[in-house]
């Protein structure tokens, strides 16, 4: 390769919005369920049915638009995108083309310590399609409209990204913003966040864009990274051979780790967009914008800086704690109660994450209260419970949100601080383990550990191992 090339990437990101009901009818958006149970005349395209806009969709879209520094279209409209496919019950999708809700925004990304703005061309609201189920045995296809009418926003970036790393940083940025807003859970694997990659290459220093291709069906960051690298190489190879890149849509195959052409620009569909006559324009006034703005949370970028400054938490730890808004809020609330940020951080990053992994949970599934975590931390600090009991109690806090004080009391787990009882037990242990006692006295420090263990066992774990250690040394 004699020439130096630069990759130019723009993204089209679809995000499924977290509303209880669909965008144009009252059907549930709940995932799963038997085929076609979450359907009605509207989302199955029955003749005579009419769409009615779910205001919550606009609310979420507005929040995302504002958080990504977009200009909000005060009078925005819906348009019909016409194309025939069985998962699309009306054979048109209600979307926005002419007056999308948001335009001309940007988000800041950081890669390798370098900050950069990625511009957002526009964001629009639209409805999702149903799902085709192919019955190989019967050589037929069935269609499930449960997903038909689930609300989406599509965020279209400008071609501002130059590497897979920047693409991932941009997607992470969007994901954090949207998740913090509570507008979506943004799970790539489950399809609640989907990204199509538009990519072209050009010689470094060139101002003109090369011919781009669009890559679809990218279901993970790994797939996105590999697809970008593969497509860059494929296009450079074509150019090096003196061939042309064809403007086309390509489909990524995760198993083969390669893409193939789906359709070229020549057979691109004419969607015959026109204004949706069944819906009235959406009027977004100052008051609505102010209401959404007022609800805006502190975003991750701000939290990262504040955690380091205010709580003395390291960058790495702050990144872990702020990965989700739920975790960050747990951290902040528990810290406000017990004033011990590092201990709270430790419980969240070690035990909480271990249990989340064990129970296959996401941060948004966490149900325990900051009061109970803070209470447990105070109990361990006071020595009311020792650390191994604390872990045991935490498991119940984590799973059942129990009050740690009540739980410890009920199950008799408090550390025994009765010196007489402890001395009595130690005497018994010393008497019963002459060999260990002899070993210790003979200089084997390790033997003391065995005696501490025996004592803990005899006290059913409720003693303070530090105190046992002290008393043992004293008594021997």
């Amino acid at each position: 390769m004699s020439k130096q090339y630069e990759t130019v990437i723009g993204l089209e990101v679809h995000i499924e919005l977290a509303t209880k009901t669909k965008i144009f009818c009252g059907c549930s958006t709940e995932f799963g369920g038997a085929p076609n149970v979450h359907t009605c005349p509207v989302c199955t395209g029955m003749p005579g049915s009419l769409p009615v806009l779910n205001k919550q969709v606009v609310d979420h879209a507005l929040a995302i638009g504002l958080a990504t520094n977009c200009h909000i279209t005060r009078v925005c409209k819906f348009d019909r995108k016409n194309y025939f496919y069985p998962d699309n019950p009306q054979n048109y999708q209600i979307s926005q083309l002419y007056l999308p809700i948001a335009r001309d925004g940007w988000v800041e990304i950081e890669t390798g310590g370098v900050k950069k703005k990625v511009r957002i061309h526009e964001m629009h609201m639209e409805e999702d399609a149903g799902k085709l189920v192919h019955d190989e045995w019967d050589d037929t296809s069935l269609v499930d409209y449960n997903r038909s009418g689930v609300p989406l926003v599509e965020i279209v970036s400008e071609p501002d990204m130059r590497s897979a790393e920047e693409v991932i940083a941009y997607l992470e940025k969007l994901r954090h913003i949207v998740q913090y807003l509570g507008a979506s859970d943004c799970k790539l694997q489950e399809g609640s966040m989907r990204a199509d990659v538009n990519l072209s290459v050009r010689e470094i220093g060139s101002d003109a864009f090369g011919t781009r291709t669009e890559m679809k069906n990218l279901n993970s960051f790994k797939a996105i990274t590999h697809a970008i690298e593969g497509e860059r190489e494929r296009q450079i190879e074509l150019l090096e051979e003196g061939k042309q890149v064809v403007q086309e849509t390509r489909r990524w195959d995760d198993n083969k780790e390669s893409s193939h052409a789906m359709r070229s620009k020549e057979d691109a569909k004419d969607y015959r967009y026109f204004p949706e006559p069944d819906l009235v324009p959406v009027m977004i006034d100052d008051e609505w914008i102010a209401r959404v703005k007022a609800r805006e949370p502190e975003f991750r970028t701000a939290k990262l800086a504040r955690y380091q400054k205010e709580y003395g938490i390291s960058q790495v730890d702050a990144e872990i704690l702020t990965e989700s808004r739920n975790m960050a809020e747990l951290f902040e609330a528990a810290t406000a109660l017990c004033k011990k940020p590092k201990k709270v951080a430790n419980w969240l990053m070690v035990e909480t994450m271990r249990l989340m992994k064990e129970h296959d949970m996401e941060p948004q599934d966490l149900r325990f209260s900051p009061e109970n975590l803070a209470g447990l931390i105070e109990m361990t600090d006071k020595g009311t419970v020792n650390s191994s009991v604390a872990k045991e109690v935490f498991e119940h806090v984590f799973l059942e949100n129990v009050d740690p004080q009540a739980y410890v009391k009920e199950h008799g787990l408090a550390t025994v601080n009765d010196e007489d009882a402890l001395r009595k037990t130690l005497e018994e242990v010393i008497a019963a383990n002459p060999q260990a006692v002899a070993d210790y006295k003979g200089g084997k420090e390790k033997a003391l550990g065995a005696l501490v263990g025996q004592t803990m066992k005899a006290m059913k774990g409720k003693a303070n191992p530090g105190r046992i250690n002290e008393l043992l040394r004293e008594m021997l």
């Binding site: 005349p41 395209g45 005579g48 009419l50 026109f274 006559p277 069944d278």
Partner: protein, 482 residues
Amino acid sequence: MDILSLSAVELGKKIKAGEISAMEATQATLAQIEKEEPRIHGYVTVDAQGALKQAEEIQGKIERGELTGPLAGVPAAIKDNICIKGRLTTCSSKILSNYKPTYTAEAVEHLQDAGAIILGKTNMDEFAMGSTTETSYFGPTMNPHNVGHVPGGSSGGSCAAVAARECYYSLGSDTGGSIRQPSSFCGVVGLKPTYGTVSRYGLVAYGSSLDQIGPITKNVEDCAAVLTAIASWDKKDSTSVKREDYDFMGSLKADVKGLRVGIPADYFTEGLNKEVAEAIRAAANVLKEQGAVVEEFNLSLVKYAIPAYYVIASAEASSNLERFDGVKYGYRAKDYEGLHNMYKKTRSEGFGAEVKRRIMLGSFVLSSGYYDAYYLKALRTKALIKAAFDKAFENYDIILAPAAPTTAPELGKSLGDPLKMYLSDIYTVSVNLAGLPGLSIPVGKDEKGLPIGMQLIGDHFQEKTLLRAAYTYERVTGKEAR
């Protein structure tokens, strides 16, 4: 007493007074249907058993005092593009010839709540596309005044059924004149309400921004009663408008003193049949004699209404009719190879020629490269037409015009020249483009005995003014369909 000659409101009164039962009225109407249908073919489906069962239930409710409205126990018919749960709703098309909706249209629910007995579904031009009811997959409807002539369209079945006394009133739909023109041809009263007055939920869409359901009745009083029953603000229809007043019965006063009536001089051109023109002017004189201030003016932009209408209506129709694809319901071609062939064969076999023509026209005007030149230009024309009406309503309370340039044409004479047929919508389409209310009332007959209708056009939400003027005319002249 001839039960069938009663108006809907008169029948309702007699049922309430116990002079006639809902069952007697239903049986009499069913007998009339049996007698007249071979001649008229106004219905696609008649549900005699269902009607008798409804009559029994409704009679009980009337006797128990649960139903007290003016339409309780009165038999009615519904145009076959308005959904009724579990009953065939075909739009007079092969592609929906087996389709039974899973829900009932909002307007029909209101009629059912008012105690209507639904006799059946009436014939129409396929998907409401046509001006003669000849494009129906089930064959044409004949004009009760002369069965050698068409009833008009697209609500030809609904109008013919009222005129032939096969029901006391019916619902039609009007996208470009589909209530007013056949009402004119059949000598009945038909009203297209202000856009947004009657919910479109459950009306199979043709041109969504133009469609309105409206009453077709024997006289003006019935028209007001049916409109009162079906008009509502419906959250299921985003284009539905919340009006201040839904009681139209209060407008029934024979008084037009000082009413400012404008006649568009530019409607009275060479295309207008002489007999029709004379009848309309004579009718205007009746209102003048009653104290109305009648004068002529130029509405302007008249010749642009037809092209703008056919571009917009066809564009919307091409999209609205995409859902009829053989996948989910309705007709599916028997033999096909794969998905695209199934779509192609189903739609080729399922739609008639006029529907295909409009789908092609609509698809064309929305195509990239043509959108601005046709669709956008039509939208701008629509805005100009609306502005012309707004200006006219600064000077006039109502606009008085013909409903159609001729009386009902002979059967079989219209479809051969679609362009000529389209041009016959000249007096009605602009009312839909501007979203205005329009009413057609019979004002006379031509020398062949075919009815002539006068159209009264009002400003937005001025149905009461139209009803009052029409009621005055009806009282003074005694002209009613009986």
